[in-house]
């Protein structure tokens, strides 16, 4: 950066770069976590269905499709975020997922269920002493904020963009 540019005032370009960088960080964090969460559920789809059932929200007929569909959705959204394709749209979907997870975990906690969120495979009932609701809520809140950032400002560094 040249001196003349600095003299011209705080550089909009530099500020833009910084915001793009923050966007990149949000994109990669949300993308990697979603991809990891989705992949972890693939080897044991029945466990994924059980984890969905453990929240005791969805009617019986929906737990199967959600238990099978959610990992695939997480993988697709995670990959697209990592690549930086259709960032606003994929971040919006990621944000919606996080809001749904936050609602699910909160209601489980409020209703006194003792479950593992099953976020990265596993899930289902656990001993009351083994629940980790605050940690799970904090993590998903952080990821949701990343999603909000990207919906608000989808431009990021190293994004492939949408065709």
């Amino acid at each position: 950066m040249t001196t003349s540019e600095e003299l011209a005032g705080p550089s909009d370009a530099a500020r833009g770069r910084l915001l793009d960088g923050i966007g990149l960080l949000a994109r990669l964090t949300l993308g990697v976590v979603l991809l990891w969460a989705g992949l972890a559920k693939v080897p044991n789809p029945q466990a994924s269905v059980r984890a969905v059932q453990a929240y005791r929200i969805l009617p019986g007929g929906l737990t199967g499709p959600v238990g099978h569909g959610l990992p695939v959705l997480e993988i697709v959204v995670g990959l697209l975020l990592i690549l930086g394709m259709w960032t606003r749209l994929t971040a919006a979907v990621g944000l919606l997922l996080m809001v749904a997870f936050l609602a699910g975990i909160s209601q489980a906690w409020a209703r006194g269920l003792s479950i593992d969120c099953g976020c990265f495979g596993g899930g289902g009932l656990v001993a009351a002493s083994r629940t980790r609701y605050p940690l799970e809520l904090a993590r998903d809140t952080g990821l949701a904020l990343g999603g909000v950032w990207l919906v608000w400002r989808p431009r990021t560094l190293l994004a492939l963009g949408g065709p």
């Binding site: 370009a13 044991n44 695939v72 697709v76 009932l125 492939l160 065709p163």
Partner: protein
């Protein structure tokens, strides 16, 4: 999205900007984007295929005598004359679950004696937790085969087969029961002649596989996702309440609970729902 970048601040930068984004790059970027979309679609398809390959085993859809229907527990000692006050003892178990084998070794003989004497109405809910968490269908098969033995030899043959399964559980969690052993134990459990042949046929065709899957599903829907669990008249037992300070099973207290149906609050597992059997 490179094309949306804010215009460069000065002419020198504009040149660099223009040089970095030649018109040709747009085309190659588009190709990369298309390649990426195809790759993402392939990964998603592979994930779907892998997931649909992990399915429970399918076979016949017979409901065992002693079960009211699909998804309902199976009354193991239906042929035994019950005492008027006999409580209903419901056992949720998976033949491949290591803790189930530990609980069975301690409390199984007490349950079996009470069931044979008609002091309890013994209801089994077969679960396939290990199949679900570690893969395979061996838990489902083992339960199917135990029901095949019960259909031919009644509760006493079932009880022996049940013992054989837990005593010969694969050493490593997640390993399967060898099929030859599952079949062979039918004879060890006392079946002979046509009854043995019928039980073996039932094992091969998997007559009760759908039923076992149905009890796994319905129990999970009811909130019983793990194993082992024992309920007395629908109240979930806290099994660890029967372990003495010397780390021994207090079988006297356990027998009193299951034969009287009286469960104290300390003996109740509050993390589980109550059930109806």
């Amino acid at each position: 999205m490179p094309t949306e970048r804010t215009p460069p601040a000065n002419a020198r930068k504009a040149k660099i900007h223009a040089a970095g984004k030649p018109v040709a790059a747009k085309g190659s970027n588009r190709i990369m984007q298309l390649v990426a979309v195809v790759l993402v679609a392939i990964v998603a398809a592979v994930a779907l295929v892998v997931m649909t390959r992990h399915k429970p085993a399918t076979g016949g859809s017979a409901v065992p005598v002693g079960a009211a229907g699909m998804g309902e527990g199976w009354v193991a000692n239906a042929g035994v004359q019950l005492l008027g006050t006999a409580p209903t003892v419901s056992v949720y178990e998976d033949f491949r679950c290591p803790i189930c084998a530990v609980v069975e070794a301690s409390y199984g003989p007490t349950i079996e004696a009470a069931a044979k004497a008609g002091k309890i109405r013994l209801v089994y809910h077969f679960k396939t937790v290990i199949d679900i968490n570690l893969g395979g269908t061996s838990s489902q098969r083992a339960a199917n085969d135990a029901l095949c033995v019960a259909a031919q030899g009644g509760y006493s043959a079932f009880a022996r087969y049940h013992d054989l399964l837990f005593r010969n559980q694969p050493a490593k969690e997640g390993d399967s029961f060898p099929t030859a052993e599952l079949t062979g134990w039918a004879a060890t459990a006392g079946l002979t002649g046509t009854k043995l042949t019928a039980a073996t046929t039932c094992m091969v065709t998997g007559g009760y596989l759908s039923y076992v899957q149905s009890t796994e599903d319905s129990s999970a829907q009811a909130g019983v996702t793990g194993t082992p669990h024992i309920f007395v008249n629908g109240t979930p037992l806290n099994i660890s309440a029967y372990v003495t300070s010397a780390r021994q099973a207090d079988l006297t207290a356990f027998e009193r609970t299951i034969t009287t149906g009286t469960v104290s609050s300390a003996q109740t597992d509050t993390s589980l729902p109550t059930i109806k059997d």
